[in-house]
Amino acid sequence: MSQMEKAAPPNPCSAPTGSRFGPPLSDGGELPFDLMLDVLLRVPGKDLCRLRAVCRRWRAATTDSVFVREHAARHGVQIFLANLRNDDAHVHVVDISGAVVKRINVSAAHRLLSARASTWPASPTGRTAVACSTRRLVRSCPGLRCRGREE
């Protein structure tokens, strides 16, 4: 294994300049996109929702139904409580594709969460229910924190 230190790696933080694998993809750094998808499948749901902002291609890919299904197969169905579009009247239950599964009015959501914060919402598989409150919800519901399955 004496050849190991042969190639001096380029600075990983620099803009891609093309590599021995051909020109970089504009949206995928130097990694071919199908391999990047394989990476994204391993990212847990909440991180995934955040990194949709990274670029259009990631956004399109990670909201695709095939991707969402495959992600669910790995991580279990993940559901988030969110406050979307500055809608003060409702709390939204969204899946990882960003689709709103249900809208609950805020006071009902508060009651529900205060009563059953530790058990709700349960996913069909019982594996990974993830509830994430909005900042607003956290403020008005002391003790309520994002909880999710840490990997």
């Binding site: 294994m1 004496s2 050849q3 190991m4 230190e5 042969k6 190639a7 790696p9 380029p10 990983p12 933080c13 620099s14 803009a15 891609p16 590599s19 021995r20 694998f21 970089p24 504009s26 949206d27 995928g28 750094g29 130097e30 990694l31 071919p32 391999l35 394989d38 990476v39 994204l40 499948l41 391993r42 990212v43 847990p44 909440k46 991180d47 929702c49 955040r50 990194l51 949709r52 902002a53 990274v54 670029c55 259009r56 956004r59 988030f80 409580l81 969110a82 406050n83 979307l84 579009r85 960003g98 994430c132 409150s133 909005t134 900042r135 956290v138 994002c146 990997e151």
Partner: protein
């Protein structure tokens, strides 16, 4: 690791094969280790790679191949046990320690590795590296991710979209 003439014993416990990197370096390894690659396994089962022949790997340079083989050699015994159902806890812990150390490398090397693992169909290695890259992404802001992965700076239009998304999904940033 250069292999002028490899052993060609067909029935020996340690049949050797020769792999040739894109930059023409020859690597001699046990067939069992090289067979972690689904791609190579077929060739090896057909009797390829022995003697002076060698299997050319035009997509993998020597630095990457050396690293790939380091992984294969380490994982070959466990793979031979069919995913290591018999492995002791100590063995498993040792492999895990090796894996953690193994991917603690520069990002460009990780990228080369994952592409080689993909080309050579070494599932365990591809999975290991993909998980490492996923770990690099976790917990970072979109801009940090772009920088980490070497994306070009966003155009004003892209920046506006990023901001809009972050506003919409503010809860995911808490």
């Amino acid at each position: 690791m250069a292999a002028p003439e490899s052993g060609d014993g067909n029935n020996g416990a340690a049949r050797m094969v020769t792999l040739i990197s894109s930059d023409n370096t020859r690597f001699e390894v046990e067939a069992a280790a090289a067979s972690l690659s689904q791609t190579l396994q077929l060739t090896i089962l057909d009797g390829g790679g022995g003697g002076g022949d060698g299997i050319p790997l035009p997509n993998v340079d020597s630095a990457t191949l050396s690293k790939v083989l380091e992984y294969c050699i380490k994982h070959a015994p466990a793979a031979a046990n069919g995913g290591a159902p018999n492995a002791t806890a100590v063995d498993r812990a040792e492999l895990e320690r090796f894996d953690n150390e193994f991917v603690n490398i520069d990002q460009s090397v990780l990228y080369s590795l994952i592409m080689a693992a993909h080309n050579l169909e070494i599932e365990g290695l591809q999975s290991l590296v993909a998980k490492k890259v996923a770990d690099m992404i976790k917990g970072k802001s979109p801009m940090e991710i772009r920088r980490t992965l070497g994306f070009p700076d966003p155009t004003p239009e892209e920046q506006a979209e990023m901001n809009a998304h972050m506003l919409e999904y503010g809860w995911a940033y808490e």
